[in-house]
Every structure is written in structure tokens, then in C-alpha cells.
């Protein structure tokens, strides 16, 4: 894991892009691969552990995270203001590697977090499929070369597919698919990709403690044996995780 470090960084800015969804930008020179994550911590002893966040965007002098407030940790992160300081451990995890040819990135809700940086590094040809429960968010951040297809369970203006992103998405014609989002979305995508014989790479979530592979708190059982989500993952080939229908 090149460049693993535990370091402090200042908050440059934080914006609430939609109720309960934030983009936090910290200053400093960082390195990361698409799909990798950091553990963020900005408090003393409560909550006990830091919070894992995938890289939303990376520039030569800053690093951004997009997240939804879910509990105490993300709530504390959402209160950070410019000039506050937090601790970061990373980069962590395997990340994902671009296949040759045209690829698709699929995100569900805040599962879009790792896809912006991924799209920028992967480059064209690439299509994006983003699903939301209601109002879409952060669409404007994605680069112009990517065609963004949007699904919303509540529907929306013309061009927005009403329903689930896994219903909208068809894998035919893609060299590989990269997805992050709710487990049910990933499993539905897997059934489609399996039938179309298109490899699907999924980014998974579990509770983490150390983040570097020592504590075995995030081990999942894959078809190839136990794997540490923080080390051998968070990205796995879907066929190693899910069963066929």
C-alpha cells in the first residue's frame, strides 16, 4: 500500500449539497487510486472509531469526501468548518482498475461517492448510471465526457428514468461494470451482468476498526475464502461474493 500515512489535515470547506448529504474538502497533498478510501476522525473518544470514506475527488492540494449523515460519526464530521483539523489514515483498500474499452459506472444514492474520482481517472469511453430515491444530487460534478443516466424512484423531469438504477441499466456492450451502492442494487446488477457475461466489480461496506488489515473485524467470506474488506477489498469481483439466481 504505497504512501500509507496517519496524518492531520485542515478542513478547507464543507457544503451541504442536499439535506443530510455533504462534501468535505481537506487540504494537503494526498495520493489515492480510484475506489480507495481513508478513515476520518475529528473527535476524542466518542465515537470510538474513525469513519471510512471513499475518495470523492482528489486534486494536487486537496482531497474530498461525499457522505450522507447516518449516525454519530458522520454527524460530527458534518459539523466541521473551515480551519478545523481532522486525522486521516490512508489511502486504504485495493481500489479498482480500468478494463480496456467502454466501461459503465453504477451508483446508488450516496454510493456515487467513489465514482467521480473513478470517472476522472478512468477517462472515456465511459457511461455513468446513478440511481436516487428522490432528488438527484451532485450530478453537476461529473465530467462532460461521461454520459450520465439518472434514475429516481420518485420520477423527475424528462430524461429521468422512474424506478431503480438496476432496472434502467443494461450491461450489454460494456467491457466491465463498476458499482457502489445498496446491497440489493449490487445483487440485482450482478444477475444482469452474469447473464450478459460482463464482469462486475462491486465496492462493499462493513464496519471497520483498524482499516489496515490487522484486526480482522471486516472479514467477509468469499467463494475464494475469507477476505479482509479493508485490504483485499473493498472492491471485489461480484461473482466471488454473490450467488447466481
Amino acid at each position: 500500500m504505497a504512501g500509507l500515512a496517519f496524518r492531520q489535515a485542515p478542513v478547507l470547506d464543507q457544503r451541504e449539497v442536499r439535506r443530510g448529504v455533504f462534501v468535505l474538502r481537506v487540504g494537503g497533498e494526498f495520493s489515492a487510486k480510484p475506489g480507495q478510501f481513508f478513515i476520518l476522525r475529528a473527535w476524542e473518544l466518542y465515537p470510538l472509531l474513525g469513519r471510512p470514506m471513499s475518495v470523492f475527488d482528489l486534486s494536487p492540494d486537496s482531497l474530498s469526501f461525499a457522505y450522507a449523515v447516518r449516525g454519530e460519526g458522520t454527524r460530527a464530521l458534518s459539523r466541521l468548518r473551515p480551519g478545523d483539523v481532522l486525522w486521516l489514515l490512508g489511502p486504504l483498500g485495493n481500489g479498482w482498475t480500468r478494463a480496456e474499452g467502454k466501461v459503465a459506472l453504477v451508483g446508488g444514492g450516496i454510493g456515487l461517492a467513489p465514482l467521480l474520482f473513478t470517472a476522472k481517472v478512468f477517462g472515456p469511453p465511459l457511461d455513468l448510471f446513478l440511481g436516487f430515491r428522490d432528488e438527484p444530487f451532485l450530478l453537476e460534478e461529473f465530467p462532460d465526457f461521461a454520459r450520465v443516466h439518472v434514475a429516481s424512484e420518485r420520477g423527475g423531469p424528462p430524461g429521468v428514468f422512474q424506478g431503480l438504477v438496476s432496472e434502467m441499466f443494461e450491461p450489454q456492450g460494456y467491457a466491465a461494470v463498476y458499482a457502489c451502492g445498496p446491497r440489493a442494487m449490487l445483487e440485482a446488477l450482478y444477475q444482469k451482468c452474469r447473464q450478459a457475461r460482463v464482469p462486475l466489480y462491486v465496492s462493499l461496506e462493513e464496519r471497520l476498526a483498524c482499516g489496515i488489515g490487522a484486526c480482522l473485524g471486516c472479514t467477509i467470506f468469499t467463494k475464494k475464502g475469507p477476505a479482509r474488506l479493508c485490504r483485499e477489498g473493498p472492491v471485489f469481483l461480484a461473482e466471488e461474493i454473490f450467488h447466481g439466481a
Binding site: M1, L4, A5, F6, R41, L45, Y46, P47, L48, L49, G50, L89, E206, R207, L208, A209, C210, I212, G213, A214, C215, L216, G217, C218, T219, I220, F221, G225, P226, R231
Partner: protein, 301 residues
């Protein structure tokens, strides 16, 4: 003058009084990406090994509590042969004492583990208190402790530690370990706790109970160490919720020879180097030459 932080145990000298608690530090190779273990660790205490590989418990394995962490890892480990053949040779490059943590289901298994651990290891720590094995007791009787430690003692000539549970009759357990030939008692492992999921109306963990660690348990473990140090003749190694140099020094004042740091590694991956530095700074500030000057001094005679 730099204070002397070294520690003399019965068959082993540690250059520093701080080491990782078994299971929180893997085999040291991950944390070695962040700092040089030999510069800070008195010893490297490994993940607990069993005779055969174990895949451990299903997810979820972790649950946060206020100032604490419930875990249900279930002794996931590659097994004794993979350790002896592949992992242990790699650890020798760290050039520091390696203490191998082992778990057996009965006295015979501890004997076999003791026979098979490479003699280049600096010590053997017997995990006599894992709370996360389905169908296996977390707390052993004094008789069960005695037979397990005695079997390991017969098989392993070097430094031998018995890591006990903070539950049940820990005093008799520690005395049984001493009588059976342990060179030190490690006090303590985690407390059994649980968490419930209201929406699912069910326990969070598949194994129902899980081990509680972290700052929340420090006062409980400190008291156990304090009491043990009054009655045992062998050294006590304190473990439970230590997150700072002052916490570690409290255990030394209670009478512990050395300490283990576990959960703190998770929220501060540089916890061990920091704790060692904080201990050194405090001794200097107090004008003390070493830990001997304060060890056990909080005991009421």
C-alpha cells in the same frame, strides 16, 4: 538522563514496557507500514493461533459502544502450520521478541501448540479467555486453567504467559496459572457483553455475546491488576482500555510489570509509540530513573 523503560520478566527482558494485545495487531506486518516495531514494542504479541485454521465468525464482527468496542472475530487465523512455515520466518526480520498467542480446546492441544511453536519465539501467551467461540466457555475454572497451563509448561521451556478472563473467579484462575508454572499473568481479556438490534428484534452478533474492550473497561481491569499484584509472586502484565501514557503508568503503579495496548491501536494507529513517549516524558518530568521506582507504589500495605 533518559529514563530506563526496560522490564525484566522471569525469562525475558523487554526493552520497553508496551506491547500490542493479541488479536489487535495481526502479525505486526500491517502496522510496520506505519512505524518500525522494534523501536517501540517491548515484544510483538501475535494474533492467537489454533492448531487448525479457523475462518472466524460471520459479519457483523464489530459494534461500537460509548468508549468501547464489542468484537466477535472468533479467532480467525491461518492455523499453526501456516504460521510456523510461512509467517514466523518473516517476523524474524523485525528483530524484536515475538510472543506467540495460542488457543487450545483442552490441555492436550496446549501441549501440542507448546511443542510446535518455534524455539526462536521469545514467549508463549496462552489465550485462556476468548469469549467469541460458539459452544466454548469464555471463562474457565481454576482446575481447567491449571491443566492447560501445566500442559503448555511441560511442552514449552521459555517464557510462558497466561491471559485470563476478567470474569468469574479471576483470582483463583491467576493463582492456578502461577502454580502450574506460568511466568506471568496477562490481565485481562475482554468482558462479555452484547448488543441488540431493535428493528430486527434480535442480537446483533450471530454468537449473541461479544467481547467488550476499549477505554470503557480500563477501571475494571486496573482494579483486577491491582488485586492480582497483591497476591501473585509472578509478574502481571496489565491489559484493558489503555490509551495513554498515564493509563499505562496507572497499571505500573498498581504493580504491573508491563502493559498491552489493544483497541487504542484502532483509533490511533500510532498509539503504541505515543504511549511509550508519554511514559518516558512523565518519568523525566518526575525525575525518575526507571519504572522500578514507581512499580506497585500505589499498593496500600
Amino acid at each position: 538522563m533518559e529514563p530506563d523503560l526496560s522490564v525484566e520478566l522471569r525469562k525475558l527482558r523487554l526493552s520497553a514496557p508496551v506491547m500490542p494485545a493479541a488479536g489487535t495487531f495481526g502479525f505486526g506486518e500491517e502496522y510496520a507500514e506505519l512505524y518500525e516495531p522494534a523501536s517501540f514494542l517491548g515484544a510483538l504479541v501475535t494474533k492467537t493461533l489454533t492448531l487448525r485454521p479457523r475462518q472466524g465468525n460471520p459479519q457483523p464482527r464489530l459494534w461500537e459502544t460509548p468508549c468501547g468496542l464489542l468484537n466477535s472475530i472468533g479467532l480467525e487465523n491461518p492455523g499453526l502450520s501456516a504460521f510456523v512455515e510461512e509467517i514466523f520466518p518473516r517476523l524474524l526480520r523485525f528483530r524484536l521478541p515475538i510472543v506467540v498467542s495460542v488457543y487450545g480446546e483442552n490441555a492436550e492441544e496446549y501441549g501440542e501448540l507448546g511443542r510446535c511453536i518455534p524455539r526462536e519465539a521469545a514467549g508463549l501467551e496462552l489465550n485462556l479467555s476468548c469469549p467469541n467461540l460458539p459452544g466454548k466457555p469464555a471463562v474457565l475454572s481454576a482446575e481447567e486453567i491449571f491443566s492447560r497451563v501445566a500442559a503448555a509448561r511441560e511442552a514449552w521451556p521459555g517464557e510462558l504467559w497466561a491471559k485470563i478472563s476478567p470474569e468469574g473467579d479471576w483470582l483463583s484462575a491467576a493463582q492456578a496459572a502461577e502454580e502450574a508454572g506460568a511466568d506471568a499473568v496477562v490481565a485481562t481479556n475482554t468482558f462479555r457483553g452484547m448488543a441488540l438490534d431493535l428493528e430486527r428484534r434480535a442480537p446483533v452478533f450471530a454468537n449473541v455475546v461479544a467481547g467488550l474492550s476499549g477505554p470503557a473497561i480500563k477501571p475494571l481491569c486496573l482494579r483486577i491488576v491491582y488485586e492480582l499484584c497483591r497476591v501473585l509472586r509472578i509478574p502481571v502484565i496489565g491489559c484493558g482500555g489503555i490509551k495513554s501514557g498515564r493509563d499505562a503508568l496507572e497499571f505500573i503503579l498498581a504493580g504491573a510489570h508491563a502493559v498491552q495496548v489493544g483497541t487504542a491501536n484502532f483509533f490511533d494507529p500510532l498509539a503504541i509509540p505515543r504511549i511509550l513517549q508519554e511514559m518516558r516524558d512523565w518519568l523525566k518530568k518526575e525525575g525518575l530513573k526507571g519504572l522500578e521506582e514507581v512499580r506497585g507504589c500505589a499498593q496500600k500495605r
